[in-house]
Symmetry: D4
Subunit: 249 residues, 8 copies
Amino acid sequence: MDRARIEKLLRRVRAGRTPVRLALEELRSLPFEDVGFAKVDTHRALRKGFPEVIWGAGKTAEQIVGLIRVYRRHGHAVLATRVDPDKAGAVRRQVPEMKYDPVARMLTLRPGPWKRVGRGVVAVVAAGTSDLPVAEEARLTAWLMGSPVRTFYDVGVAGIHRLFRSGPDLQRARVVIVVAGMEGALASVVGGVVEAPVIAVPTSVGYGANYGGLSALLAMLTCCAPGVAVVNIDNGFGAGYLAAVINRL
Amino acid sequence: MDRARIEKLLRRVRAGRTPVRLALEELRSLPFEDVGFAKVDTHRALRKGFPEVIWGAGKTAEQIVGLIRVYRRHGHAVLATRVDPDKAGAVRRQVPEMKYDPVARMLTLRPGPWKRVGRGVVAVVAAGTSDLPVAEEARLTAWLMGSPVRTFYDVGVAGIHRLFRSGPDLQRARVVIVVAGMEGALASVVGGVVEAPVIAVPTSVGYGANYGGLSALLAMLTCCAPGVAVVNIDNGFGAGYLAAVINRL
Amino acid sequence: MDRARIEKLLRRVRAGRTPVRLALEELRSLPFEDVGFAKVDTHRALRKGFPEVIWGAGKTAEQIVGLIRVYRRHGHAVLATRVDPDKAGAVRRQVPEMKYDPVARMLTLRPGPWKRVGRGVVAVVAAGTSDLPVAEEARLTAWLMGSPVRTFYDVGVAGIHRLFRSGPDLQRARVVIVVAGMEGALASVVGGVVEAPVIAVPTSVGYGANYGGLSALLAMLTCCAPGVAVVNIDNGFGAGYLAAVINRL
Amino acid sequence: MDRARIEKLLRRVRAGRTPVRLALEELRSLPFEDVGFAKVDTHRALRKGFPEVIWGAGKTAEQIVGLIRVYRRHGHAVLATRVDPDKAGAVRRQVPEMKYDPVARMLTLRPGPWKRVGRGVVAVVAAGTSDLPVAEEARLTAWLMGSPVRTFYDVGVAGIHRLFRSGPDLQRARVVIVVAGMEGALASVVGGVVEAPVIAVPTSVGYGANYGGLSALLAMLTCCAPGVAVVNIDNGFGAGYLAAVINRL
Amino acid sequence: MDRARIEKLLRRVRAGRTPVRLALEELRSLPFEDVGFAKVDTHRALRKGFPEVIWGAGKTAEQIVGLIRVYRRHGHAVLATRVDPDKAGAVRRQVPEMKYDPVARMLTLRPGPWKRVGRGVVAVVAAGTSDLPVAEEARLTAWLMGSPVRTFYDVGVAGIHRLFRSGPDLQRARVVIVVAGMEGALASVVGGVVEAPVIAVPTSVGYGANYGGLSALLAMLTCCAPGVAVVNIDNGFGAGYLAAVINRL
Amino acid sequence: MDRARIEKLLRRVRAGRTPVRLALEELRSLPFEDVGFAKVDTHRALRKGFPEVIWGAGKTAEQIVGLIRVYRRHGHAVLATRVDPDKAGAVRRQVPEMKYDPVARMLTLRPGPWKRVGRGVVAVVAAGTSDLPVAEEARLTAWLMGSPVRTFYDVGVAGIHRLFRSGPDLQRARVVIVVAGMEGALASVVGGVVEAPVIAVPTSVGYGANYGGLSALLAMLTCCAPGVAVVNIDNGFGAGYLAAVINRL
Amino acid sequence: MDRARIEKLLRRVRAGRTPVRLALEELRSLPFEDVGFAKVDTHRALRKGFPEVIWGAGKTAEQIVGLIRVYRRHGHAVLATRVDPDKAGAVRRQVPEMKYDPVARMLTLRPGPWKRVGRGVVAVVAAGTSDLPVAEEARLTAWLMGSPVRTFYDVGVAGIHRLFRSGPDLQRARVVIVVAGMEGALASVVGGVVEAPVIAVPTSVGYGANYGGLSALLAMLTCCAPGVAVVNIDNGFGAGYLAAVINRL
Amino acid sequence: MDRARIEKLLRRVRAGRTPVRLALEELRSLPFEDVGFAKVDTHRALRKGFPEVIWGAGKTAEQIVGLIRVYRRHGHAVLATRVDPDKAGAVRRQVPEMKYDPVARMLTLRPGPWKRVGRGVVAVVAAGTSDLPVAEEARLTAWLMGSPVRTFYDVGVAGIHRLFRSGPDLQRARVVIVVAGMEGALASVVGGVVEAPVIAVPTSVGYGANYGGLSALLAMLTCCAPGVAVVNIDNGFGAGYLAAVINRL
């Protein structure tokens, strides 16, 4: 490995087999992460079962297949987001063992059995049925990264009692993801009643002054309840990933 | 009046004292409202005790005093909004009987005792203490127009139980005004639990992604609870006026 | 019912059949609305003939059919908005008794004969022929909720006399809905001549600086005539719903 | 003049006194307008009594005085816009013959008596009293450029009958300027009833969703009445200038 | 006519055949424009050869055919804008004498031979070939309304000499329309060199920070050259209409 | 307390001293949180040493003092954000034991000695010196809530090596807060190299296309590194609060 | 040429064969660039091998073919951008020697062998694989204009070590183009480590708060590293062109 | 230096005085730039006479003085931007040898005599007198970095001949900076006539639809002339810096 490579170089210098000038040159050309940062971190992440992720929206089926093959060669889990059914079909014709979730629009592959990494449970709270694709993307991501997940769907603030009915269960979650479009008020209400950190995901569900999710995004950012942070519009993956990261602390 | 003026003209035509050509000319020049619309409506509104309103933000103390004098000459109530304390002082030095509410920033004068016009009670629900100036502008306007008002202040969604504690009282209101800044989620929650029409007032309370009230405005416009309509940012007057109009139906 | 359930629990406590500790536990787990809020309110609304509403834009025909069946089982009226003709056809192949209005793009079903609930008449004023889908959505919603409706179509401000010709009729309305795209000026003009509350609906009709309805939305929000409130862009349903709520006061 | 200068050069070439090479050099270095465009146009404009204009907002009193002195040396009229009272005082202490209009916030100086250039009358229609500074800037500019002006102030659409009362006078205008803030609906209404070209000036009068004039700007741009064009927010000068240009056609 | 109708009523009153009370009633119910405004104005406009206009974007072929038939019955010219080729074909199958211009995307019909109404020439200046549909819409509109038109196409500021080459011809125009997308700078340059009023039309030609024409729109509104006003993005019709109105002064 | 109150009521019912009807009434009127939600949660939070928070921006010194006195009476910690020096001085003249941090602009008071609650260390990474007020607000909040904090200031991406020099220390943090204005790129770079959850705080530091923090906000929301969530612009408090919540998991 | 034409005219004047009056007329009608500006510049540019450019997005295959034929007649290179595969096929059926690059979406034709004009190497750095179309447009443009190009693809900041690994090579570039979507942070990081001028190209790659490239655009404009300038969103051509212009200095 | 430090470490390893394990540790902890990147680059930049820059807007006079002292200790040039006169006075009372330019609002100090580094001349073209502060900031920055500068001020497109008069001089510039507010059209016109790379600086000069420089910013980004790139609004420093970087190539 990289650490080994540096160590070997140093031993060669000590043994006089590599002149200082050449060793200096080689050390300068070493990638930064080889002396301790990103690359090692990536490896560690992979060792812990966190999948590499392919953003499927801007890639062809061929590109996705190519990346899948690289990841599999290294024994990694594979997770491709935003893959529409046609593209998923094309990928699976070449890599049939990939699983496809048509609601979450994700292609996934685990190299071994699922292993729990997160200590607690991640709750995924969603306002309406139109928010389900984003909520499911969050749920599947967190689960693949080793977190048990519990879902609370269709509990929008227009009938806030539906949320409160599930109160104690929600209270038990270690991390809460709130997925809501339109006015995004669910994040504020949940943020006001739970103790756990809340990750809010605005969705583009709505029309008119929703402006593709802007109304929910701004509402969640200006949320008056503390303990809430926001990810990009429709970014279920990002919320699930962060929730899993927090849950394994 | 105008109706009389047309009648007189017609009689003169019948009597042959006004030629058809001249009568035609005069009729063409008659203001539209003289034959039945806005002006008469304005008069009717005034007779029902609805005050004329002066938007104080863009006027000098002198201009406000001038308008007050015109309204008083006609025996009208006077209501001037967005008058800061200095301007209010300058006005009251010349028209001492004007009352000034420093929270609502309004100058008011009723020509006689307050008379109830609205059938039910108007509820004014406000999220936080910073929203009080707008909420009080709404309350004072609705009250001056003859509606009893009940206030529910500091019941923001971060502690939504504070709102629910006052539930039955809120349920009894005939019209509900909801005043909230930041994410404006209170309108959705109230809209989900009351039967009465809800008038939502976004306020500019907040910072950053609040964008001067935009976050609350968009959230209220995309509110998933039906029965909610929205007025301009910080427009407490408009909400109070509309609430009073609905309440006297 | 929920009330009955609580009463029964209390009687069991009094009879000593349920220990205080267990009753306390059960009361804590009761959904909020079971002790008096949203759910009861929902039931009351349904009893009064107000239909449950399905937002058809984000649902498949299958999901819509599923929801329709639930509502019908409870004997509720059904109202699905934003259903395009294809989806409507798919739904009606399974639930043939649903009626489809292709202009309003709504699927509706009343469990019994139409019953007037609103006291007065709701006026729907629309600026141009392109605004008709939104205006018809408002009209059909208000009517289904029990309000007689009168329409004033194609009376945009570029030929404002067309509006004034219908003045007295318009004046008689108890609630006025104004539907307009482009510059949305019709709301201001109508707001200036009627005494009734005005619900303004900006539409996305227009191009360029209309920005999908933004020009009309901002114009209506900054309307200089008092007594006007605004709903979301193209939200004919919301306006019709609120008008019916006000009209039954 | 420039034309003369080129002619002289050509004669010198013909007379053999200027070599072709040098003449070529000189012709290349001639400013573009010297052979027929902008500069000559500028001179022509000045000859016709159109004042040079100083945008006072971004200049110090000293810079304004300096420019005034240049224009006066050439016998030009002087027109400085957006000069606040303090700056105006500082300028007039050095150039006492400048006149200052505190409502229009303009400093002006005509080198001779006012001379009518425009054929018809320019109408300036303004919605509210807060729009007067912009309306007066338009009026004064058009008048200084030789157009008689008639004003129709405080005729906003919330009481549209006030506008219609002045109908025939308004109809006689050759060019109409409409100045309005808030929802800017006045431009549409006027555009629907007059035959003359309409120049709409959105103002920044309003608050909240007015967004510094954006609501009026977008409304005027999407105006459904034909024959209307728009200038920048608060740009009374631009409207008055264009009106005068059209009126002298 | 309306005027005739009022006159007749007055004569009947004089003759004693219509009681004053009934006449009063009838006069009150007369549409506003019948006593002098919009409707008469409309008629006058039509008499002068100005076509009624159908905004084709939001209408079906059937609706367009219906309107065409009404206009033709009154002997009016017909002008339908934003009609795509398919819709145009469907219309012409029913009204074959309509002419279709595929670049301007307009359907037109003149009831008689073209008659010059405008005194001077309208210049249409366009920046690039992608702006032609808008420029042609302006040209065709102005021409149908009786104005001779001269076009200056493909003279964008990236090669500004192309514009200057046509200088004298451009200088002779009585009204100038400038059509440009992207940064819209052409309006400023033309506004700086011509004496005639300039109507600027921003187009949605461009990508990225063009934001559907916003860059050109804002640039034209903040144009530093006086004598320029702006119409909506891509609104060739509006520019052509206003140019013809100015040109016939 | 509330639980006790319900228990007492139930016992009274069992004892026959409170009729079922009255008990039912009382239970219905009980605030929701009294049977298990927000209020209890609030109390628990306070017991754990989390301070109540006063948003000082929209309050007078008098209001702040009033709130401080309430919190102190209950033995709570006090934390007031966005208090400028003048207001802080006025508060401290009445409550001298409050501490004021002029960089973080916070007034604080702990009822007892600081007690560590968070397991790991919270890192606060800030891009430039102008971001310090926000960063310090985050640091002080997290610390007051019981988390040890380590700061990494002035490590903006224009000299990214400054960040990398502190790599191992940064890697050890359990939660990382990144505070950056302008282009906000620091969040992406940190998000790419640390394993801990990252809370990104955009600041309004910058000018022009920064648009009051919008550039950093959008950049952080679209951050390509996973594991990053965002709070409102300049919301150091919110980031510190959430970091402390995560750190005590 | 133009210079020759003026010289010839002057000689004719000197020889008395052209009267001064006629020469004056001809000089006035000469396009500006004929006496030294744009046109000559254009010619020079062409002589140096810089291709004329066709913006293919707004043109039909026929229009593109027409322009290609003009350029080829003059022996120019041809470069058409934003040509989708269908349009490219249609063009190549008529002009088969055109080359088409399906990633860069460009049609190109060089009249002779490629000739190096730029002194150094242009580096094209791209963040992700979805940015490749824009990056390749930049690369191909710079190369066609005579600059050697080196690419550094897929080096986004989420794994910034990938960029640093290629450090020395990147450092050697004379001009650096950075292509990135999402948060666009790569421009800041590269701008912080290279000495060469950096041209940043925001791309529309992303979703949600990316707003079609706005997040990257604003981030790059507010970049805290000096030496960076920005072109339009997705404008790979513009970046490649400017890089080549700088590189040939 | 850093290179020396690594070399020394390697020699110690070779000599057996530092065990491999410890050397490995030290190499891992070395800042990235110590093995060849940013820091060395910074030093090189400084050696070449490029000043360190202090962004004065967000700093106190004390902070500025502190930074100045650090830079001077290293013998660096000092350049502080956006320093208002009061702050500049406070700084100069402590560091009297700093020079202050009140138009450019910059504090500067060169450690030795000015030395030309740039090969050609940088042209700074500015549209109006209100743009001078930004233009001067650009000029002074480029000059301090060793580039001769020529200015072309007050040549806005409303009188484009003023620009063309200076054509040949402008053509000789090696890099051109264009500074313009309002519609920013000057960048397009200059970009169309010069061969040199153009750096466009939008300024916030203007009002209304200028939106603090947005109109100029968007116009410059969508500029139809190739060879133009844009820096942040009012960022004269950034343009001057980049121009100097290009000019020394």
